[in-house]
Symmetry: C2
Subunit: 232 residues, 2 copies
Amino acid sequence: MTQTPFRIVFAVYPGMTQLDFTGPHQFLSRVPGSETVVASRDGGDVPAEGLVFAGTSVLAEIEACDLICVPGGVNASEVALDAAFVGEVRRLALGARYVTSVCTGSLILGAAGLLTGKRAACHWAWRHLLPLYGAVADGGRVVRDGNVITGGGVTAGIDFALAVVAEIGGDELAQTLQLGLEYAPAPPFDAGRPETAPAAVLAAYRARMDPMMPQREAQTLKAAARLGIALA
Amino acid sequence: MTQTPFRIVFAVYPGMTQLDFTGPHQFLSRVPGSETVVASRDGGDVPAEGLVFAGTSVLAEIEACDLICVPGGVNASEVALDAAFVGEVRRLALGARYVTSVCTGSLILGAAGLLTGKRAACHWAWRHLLPLYGAVADGGRVVRDGNVITGGGVTAGIDFALAVVAEIGGDELAQTLQLGLEYAPAPPFDAGRPETAPAAVLAAYRARMDPMMPQREAQTLKAAARLGIALA
């Protein structure tokens, strides 16, 4: 660990998928010698999928951190266009030892110019957008490329968190947290990936998601274009 | 579903293990035709493991619900002695179609007199306390006995949620949520249960937990004694 305490910043935003954030937070906040900060662009209340997270810090007021984690959300491609938020993520990430995300949070890392040439995970239904940021889309549940560690969709954040804990605190600490949080998953169905979901389930899901994809692609192209200018 | 919308109440409290609550909430709040209410004894802010959940409703102001879910917490045996909280849980549960909990939340259901003669799950390290409430401790990750559905420790809440979604909305809905939340777990270690954790990890965990157990047992006996009077 680079400093004491090892500072972990979750960069959150209204509309995020709360489990992308709360899953890893449950594990990472239990790492001895670490300090977990939940921060947003404006600070204060952050509403997310029916919950409201109160008392978040202001990202711009955080000087530095050891690890930054950006959760995903159904509005991730829109948040990728929020220059203030993305700028703070970039600033903190450039000084961090680890740059991380869960789910579509990788699209925000992408918009921050942090994934150029890097392999990264993403929610399966959005993964094809990663190359627009110069990233290499990877279907892994947890993907590591250098100091960038990314998790796949939503619940992948728990597997991601264990991998991160093992990285920063060792395997035994990760196993101790796994035991304490009784992570011995036993899903009653095997429908968590498009490859294993029943065809009808996949078709229904796609029918609901596909109409939104053109807008998400347009937003991503716009964010990527800005990035081109910013990095030029 | 018994009413429209199908009302789901999470009965939360300061000090709960947030993932016990946020995991199931992520799935259940996406059930079409349902309404998810987060409520606490006093309403307002509920701090839990470094997070603060704002804007919770007041339990006493909720007339009825279809499903009540009580999360666990390291202070569950203390919360089991909070007569006002436990009383509201009991009142709502007696009118609900489903009575549920995650992790040590089952100890609160027990204190509310809802588990007498019932099989129930609990976090593995606390499971032996359930019989003090007249319940039958069950090592299952998700346990159903009549209208009582309980999940094991913390992350079991996600498997629990899928089982509950399947019950109230059908298998296809559960599978659709599983696909959307990409629940295809791949833990990097197999340390999530005492039976599979490395011996050193289990020993270290027990060494930290065991000193707290006498107090938890005393609290549970006290809550159980109250229950005996209340039910007499």
